[in-house]
Symmetry: C2
Subunit: 195 residues, 2 copies
């Protein structure tokens, strides 16, 4: 076991992490203080419900792990094995956990982010901080409700211009998708009717 993490330049830039990286933080949080290695992480994206939400090729997975290490979100140490290739075991840092918790608390702003980002938040909130589930759902509902109302208001405006029909088609689609997401949200199992 040789520590290989170097924190000479912890945060090269303000870290803007995507859904893939946040899901990795979530898996590392689930793994606990003993850490987890890349190949094990990769398996969680190919088997299980996570793979239904997001697809992550091994190339990108290792790339993201490097990035998270550079940002000081995780630490990395090599675990030597005799009969198998060496593993790099990763552990979540306090900064990584803070980043994860912050991300989990934020609802998504746009309807199109429900499919990927919000599903991930839901998945990891259930697993890591189930007490916060109702709050996450409630906050997301209020964002989508506001969006739906704004769309309804735009539909009320008198149609003007030669592309009025096209604009209305677009608006109605956005409205339909937003309302479908809202209905789905409201059908979600909460603490009241938990399993």
């Amino acid at each position: 076991m040789t520590s290989t993490t170097r924190h000479t330049s912890p945060q090269p830039r303000p870290p803007r992490l995507g859904p893939a990286e946040h899901s990795l933080l979530g898996l590392l949080a689930s793994a606990g203080p003993d850490g987890i290695h890349g190949y094990d992480l990769a398996r969680q994206y190919t088997h299980g419900a996570l793979g239904e939400i997001i697809r992550l090729e091994s190339g990108m997975l290792y790339h993201h792990l490097k990035k998270l290490d550079r940002y000081g979100m995780i630490t990395t140490h090599v675990e030597h094995q005799t009969d198998r290739p060496d593993r790099q075991v990763h552990t979540l840092t306090a900064a990584g956990r803070r980043q994860l918790d912050h991300w989990l608390r934020e609802p998504v702003r746009a309807t199109r982010d429900i499919r990927l980002d919000f599903l991930l938040k839901l998945f990891f909130t259930r697993r890591l901080i189930p007490a916060h589930l109702d709050e996450l759902i409630a906050q997301q509902r209020s964002v989508l409700t506001a969006l739906a109302e704004s769309l309804r208001a735009q539909m009320q405006e008198p149609a003007t211009g030669d592309d009025a029909i096209e604009r209305r088609m677009v608006l109605r689609l956005r409205q339909a998708q937003t309302e479908a997401a809202l209905a789905w949200l409201e059908s979600l199992p909460t603490t009241e009717n938990a399993t």
Copy 2:
């Protein structure tokens, strides 16, 4: 007016065009044989319904035009102006028109492509080949109906495994989004109830 198009190597690779490039082909088809220049194209993405569907920065726009020229989908010639900067006027080629028509005839396979790709197809079919509108909508409806049925079948399967709840949440969201898109599709103005 100096012709600058070179067709020494017309198709360097099998051309895989994205929605942005197809929308450019659509605008070039609307412009007719006299062609149209980049800045004029850019305006159609900032004003009008097109901008509600897709956002295209000028940098990417000029990049796509270069690519379309390399692929032999458009031709380019410089139009000299004395009081204004020179323009590069682009014209759709027969190959470009073939590509556009082929793309317009294909329904999208996934629900998430409705928001961008299908809206573009709808937009340009209405504008260029309105006689084909009903067919496009009917084909897309049959694709989405099949998808909805497959999702319903998956929901019927007995829930098994420890992440069964999560899998069902994902499935129900996909179902809700697909059914919302279907309902919207069926509410679209067809030739029967045209304006």
